[in-house]
Amino acid sequence: MEASVRPLLKISGLRVEYPGRRGTFVAVENMDLEVGRGEIVGVVGESGAGKSTIGSAIMQLLEPPGRIAAGTIELEGQRLDQLDATEMRAIRGKRISMIFQDPLTSLNPLYTVGKQLIQTIRTHSSRSEAAARQEATALLNAVGIPDPEIRIDQYPHQFSGGMRQRVVIALVLCTNPDLIIADEPTTALDVSVQAQILDLIKKLAAERNIGVMLITHDMGVIAQTTNRVAVMYRGRVVETGKTHQIIHAPVHEYTKSLIGAVPRADVKLDRFPRISYIEAATPAAKVFDIETHWLGRTRPDAKVAQPASVGPLVSVDGLTMRFVVRHAILPQNRVLFDAVKDLSLDIQEGEVMGLVGESGSGKSTVARILSGLYRPSSGSMRFDGQDVLKMSRSADVNAIRRQVQMIFQDPYSSLNPRMRVDSIVAEPIQHHRLASSRDETYAIVDDLLEVVGLGKAAGRKFPHEFSGGQRQRISIARALATRPRFLICDEPTSALDVSIQAQILNLLKDLRSALKLTVLFISHDLPVVRQMCDRVAVMKKGELCELAATDDLFNRPRHPYTTELLRLMPRI
């Protein structure tokens, strides 16, 4: 046993408070954590758990009026929480560095990457310009940037998201820090890039003997990367220990719930496990009988008997969406970009079709075309046998509008902040004249809010009074208010915490089977797609790579891109 087993970072009894005029908010309470050299320690929790606050507290970057109310933070025995601003500046950046979520905003867009690196190196050591440049090139090489001699003179916008995050890591390494705090370093990145960045962080921690504190909401990232993990819930550490132990044998109820809520990629479950620890407060969705309920009335099911709707409900053929990236007077000088290229797809009535792809693959563009927000440059689109793009009468278009609804990704921007929830949900009913009177409309609205598990009291409130998950329920109620046949879900849960995601996905599953909806489910998250969909289409750069039944796709992928996506999928 050595005498110097003193950990690199030692936090004990930390309490961070935000005094405000509505009382003091305790962001972090009684927090203990140790990070050793060469060790990666994960801090995992859902939004509002206080995990980012810890990083800010260590760096003395708490936004006022936030303050450390109790406890100590030590870096190799030195009390960080007692340092004044000048002393802290010598440590910040030099001995402790941070990597943030968005690599675009952590780099200065006006300087070349090399200039930023060289400047940082020279601020912290007395090296010559040439030596610093050499060092910078070596660092870019170390973080895996090809042709570092050329790329060093490029600007941040010339790098892709993953490459930019590599540059940020190189920037962090400039000063040879002892500790790196990585706050959601891969959340803004695609799965394939995420895996590379995490590997890089692992490699660097081991090679350079750096302690890493990895803050994330993603259990998959934790399982892949960290040695030890602390699970946080509402400002407290509920469980801490070795990563594989926590993942495979969690003790605390919350940890169990959190791990249970992560969608599984290996088997398809009927429902997501109910998270008793978190869900206790949410009212159960109202159970209704579709035969008698408003949602089931005057559905155009009678039409099913007609021969027109024997084919697929939605059918697109040769769909292409071309955007003009740069305008020019002469057509040949125009820069064009095909967001969707020659896409053909049939969606059967009652089926859940998954659409998977990384950012920029064109999946959201497909959603916008199908929902009528974009008009495609070429190709045809049929709904229930009718050619939608050739319709000229507004009554016909309106009839299609009523049957196709969409749930959006961002629950914070998809509801008009100046409208009450009941007016938001009532709008589609009023527009399509689905109710004969105001009273009837609002009775339906109350009922819809109960169906999505909110209760009618929610109607009198404004959207900002609700959490992300509750807002997404309101979005679902609004989408159902037209009694649609085809529901497009564009990443409906990617902005939500994993426990809330499970609730919303369960709700969507229940509604789908009760209402016999046809669904296009768009996601970048493969495990979620596996749980939700009957068939899956994989898109890459605007083109359809593979379309297969869900189990076939996951068990026997045929396209190399699908294989690659499946390989990189984070697993617990």
Partner: protein
Amino acid sequence: MTSNSTGRFLPALRDSDAWHKFKGSPLTIGAAIIALLMISSALLSPLIAPHDPFDPRAIDLMNSLIPPAWHEDGQSSFLLGTDDQGRDLLSAILYGTRTSIIVGFVSVGAAVLLGLVAGLLAGYLGGFIDGFIMRVVDIQMTFPSIMVALLIDGISRSLLPREQHDQLALVVIILALSLSIWPQVARTVRASTMVEKNREYVQAARVIGRPAGIIMVKHILPNVMGPVLVIATINFGVAILGEATLSFLGVGIPASEPSLGTLIRIGNNFLFSGERWIVLYPGLTLALLVLAINLLGDWLRDVLDPKLR
């Protein structure tokens, strides 16, 4: 129903950031009190003014150029003295402030209306309509408001007989002022509209099938009103100043009717002959009113602009 909503509204107001910021700033409270006092006394001027400056029978040339009451020669019935025609200055200021405030309200109101319509159309529809409206705005912005006023005044002077022209003076001045303010409103509304139209709640309304007009009025308009309110408040002060400037130059309100600008213009002639109260008190009133309104505008901007929070 109503009592219920007010019952909820009051505590909500007391808890809001706006009220909190208001309470914490003595400058804003002072500005609000001054603005309220001046506006209400101006609007009530026919009731509270000691004399009627419009009534030729009440005006006696014998009373001309009486200094304020606290001077040796002052009379208690003319608190702030009289002008060269024997009009009571306090009453004239009250009536004049009323004219100024009416001009301010109506011209800013018209400008906001025009700017909102133009900005919403340009921002939401884009393309050719956007280009057309914004070029009109650009052209409009190259004309100083005084030149626009002179132009309109000149045209109306040549077209209308003198009496009718004097009657229409108020309309001319309001037209000139709103023409010079609306481009600012239109630009702001266009910028905010372009941000809002890409938000998902607007797309949701489009997916429902709502036509562009309803989306603009029902969804976008309420969400762009914040910056418009700020611009309107600040331009209210600008409009009052503009009215005073134009009246001072003799383009606006005819000299026979009191407005702060005409009073200052009359007083200007006596500035060096000792009767400086004629210009001093209308001038002070104008400065105080505009200052109070601008301070309120700053407070409103702090409350409504999330970027400055």
